[in-house]
Symmetry: C2
Subunit: 454 residues, 2 copies
């Protein structure tokens, strides 16, 4: 039926890989003669971004809203994601599923996703269907018809979704509490799907208030990537989105922030369903958007050096040399609107004790902090990063997703033009500096996923 359910675990994986994909794709564009992306602002505040992509007679149409789970009101966790579901219900113009049926009838694809920072809806169709897609999408921005008949059964669907994605997954259960520990007093501590006891209490009024507050043209970004002409696309947008009259004034996103971390926390979750133990340590680290100049780029390369490739330190030392892990890596989640994270993970091999594995990782990190990285390592990591970029040939959906997400979190298309150069400017000293600044074990969050004892 509807492929709209992007839950906690999937989002997590998605985010881990997302920044890389973002930059990979961007560079592909940057390597073209000129990306020639065109941006427009309609009179009602809606932003339109047109990305030429003439590789095939297809167009991707995405509507992004600058609202996500981090905007869930206190006690109403899950409402942003819930709303993503509700957007597929009927409007005063079209009945339930009519939009989806139309997409499907012409062999198109559609999907939607919710993150902490944004919510987005898209269709991939032939260019001749773009006008229709805009008509439907503009319609549901303001004309949803929400009744208890629609709302209540969907709440059960979401509770079932939560049950499947979280309660049946030991790693997802642990991950919810690790996030809460990493993001004390910050809305990134909210699970995207919501806490179960709060989903159960979500009311239709919560959804109506959320819709009224955030689903407005001034809060939307429409991205069209494909075989289209910018001016023609603008005309289509004006004839559909341009007719929308906002019914509420622009809202400020008000997020609380975390106190400075000062304690080291270890979370251990044991579950009889765990067949593969794992270990993870995360540190708070700034995203590209809020990092000091050059820090995010250095963190990306640091993550590649430590655990982002087949020649990374973890891979060479822990996986291949010491044979303690089947996998060991590093990650940096640079693509957030607010404070994000840098982390290490490892999966023990055979009978390796999780404590021994943790010590092996710690020993690598201690060495990093003491001796730093070498110029050779940095150059190789940069090469790997750039090579993967060159080899990556991403889908049109990814293209649209890059620019939609960047603008949705408060960046701009232009933010990316300087990215490859900034990456090239990162020095050994830059990498060592961010490592020492952010990888402080006494302020880290460690997660241990283990089978039940005895």
């Amino acid at each position: 039926m509807l492929e709209v359910m992007i839950g906690v675990r999937y989002m997590h994986r998605f985010f881990l890989g997302f920044l890389f994909v973002v930059f990979a794709s961007f560079n592909a564009i940057a390597n073209e003669s000129k990306p020639n992306i065109t941006e427009f602002m309609l009179e009602n505040g809606l932003r339109l971004v047109v990305i030429p992509d003439r590789r095939a007679p297809v167009v991707t149409h995405m509507a992004w809203y600058k609202v996500g789970s981090a905007d869930d009101p206190k006690g109403s966790s899950g409402i942003a994601h819930f709303f993503e579901h509700l957007m597929f219900k009927g409007t005063s113009t079209y009945k339930n599923s009519e939009f989806s049926s139309a997409v499907s009838a012409i062999g198109g694809q559609e999907n939607a996703f919710t993150s902490w920072d944004y919510t987005a809806y898209y269709q991939k169709v032939s260019p001749s269907a773009l006008a229709d897609m805009m008509k439907y999408e503009a319609d549901r921005m303001r004309n949803l018809v929400l009744t208890e008949d629609v709302f209540l059964p969907e709440r059960d669907v979401i509770l079932e979704e939560r049950s499947g994605r979280v309660d049946r997954s030991p790693s997802a259960i642990l991950s919810e509490f690790s996030r809460a520990a990493l993001h004390v007093n910050h809305p990134y501590s909210i699970p995207i799907i919501g806490w179960e006891h709060e989903i159960e209490n979500l009311q239709m009024d919560d959804a109506l208030a959320f819709y009224e507050k955030w689903y407005q043209p001034w809060n939307a970004i429409v991205v069209v990537a494909g075989d289209v002409d910018p001016q023609e696309t603008l005309k289509l947008a004006q004839a559909t989105y341009g007719k929308i009259v906002a019914t509420a004034k622009p809202s400020q996103r008000k997020w609380t922030s975390s106190p400075a971390p000062v304690v080291a926390q270890t979370l251990e979750y044991r579950d009889e369903r765990v067949t593969q133990p794992s270990w993870q340590r995360t540190f708070r680290a700034p995203s590209y958007l809020i990092a000091e100049k050059g820090e995010a780029e250095a963190l990306d390369l640091l993550s590649t050096i430590m655990g982002g490739s087949a020649t990374s330190r973890f891979q060479k030392e822990i996986v291949l040399e010491q044979e303690l892990a089947t996998a060991a890596g590093a990650f940096y989640q640079g693509s957030s609107r607010d404070m994000s994270s840098f982390g290490f993970y490892a999966v023990p091999r055979g009978d390796t004790k999780i404590d021994d594995l943790a010590k092996a990782v710690e020993s690598q990190v201690d060495k990093l902090l003491k001796e730093g990285v070498t110029q050779e390592e940095l150059d190789r990591a940069r090469q790997i990063y750039l090579k993967t970029i060159i080899y990556s040939q991403d889908s049109q959906i990814t293209l649209a997703r890059i620019f939609g997400s960047v603008i949705a979190i408060g960046g701009s298309v232009e933010d990316f033009t300087s990215w490859p150069d900034r990456l090239r400017k990162v020095t050994v000293e830059d990498v060592n500096k961010v490592a020492r600044k952010y990888l402080d074990r006494s302020r880290s969050i460690t997660s241990r996923l283990l089978p039940k004892e005895g």
Copy 2:
């Protein structure tokens, strides 16, 4: 100057001992022929509780508000406590400090305190001054004059208070994060004094909104304990508090709640200022108000058996026999409006390693869970509890505090009449049942306070 500052650490200690004091005092009353407490409700919703206490020609006058730090709006932590300070500033009737000067001029005492559940103000004076105290207290309930001249310097005072109570105290620093871990997604995770970065951003409008929302007669409980006549006291109250016209409708206290705990968390804080390491483990446990029948009583006796007296298991085994600790105890915080905690703590002796001490405590807890307590231990704990009750002769302020706090959290005077009997009914099975229900290590929060390494 003003003795109004009850900060995080003091409140913590206060709460640890408070329930015991509450019941001790109550029993002292219950053992009298008849406590003869009189309750009135004024037309504007204000509740008046008169407690006869003719031991001395003195009266304690307390104004309680059913609002505390757990009601701090999202992102405005500290506002309830901040407001406690502001209540000592001038009103449209009396200038800054005039009330305090009046109390001091007649040799009276005054103080105020903020908890997560309530905020209270009191004066202890001679009975002839009661009418005056009511006049001043009723006045500041609605006539405070708040200006930037008052607000901004007080914010600096509070930041300095926080610096003294939290930032200069390693145990308080750790305690803030332990609370946050124990009370994920619940407002008990808020430090009473507020997170520093949020105090810095508190604005006068926050204070004005808080005052308007909560400082209203329908949200107040006035407790008068002392050498007074109930009907005379009612007349005085009617002539002062009775004149107050509410300017807002009653507000519901809306608190979010925690997800069911499923992970074990360990928090470690190292600080060069730590000269005495310590270890603590807490479990979520229901308060008297929300516990199932008999559970809270059993938890109180369990805490006495394990670590609440000179003959407790911890004292005998860990302190005296094994000589691992200079102190080891148990605590149960039964006097909360919502989900509370049960815990163990230990302070290592000499060179005892914190891990060895933790193992010794765990071994005692394992034994408890496996073998349970004995009838003899239960009887002895009950005796100790009752004896301490009999011996305790509390101050009038404590008397007033008991009933004010009980009513402020939603209980009633009558809730206490059955308490000694309920305590007598607790069986070995009851104690073993709550131990096994609540002391689950895999869902506990452990805190380790240690000096800096190396």
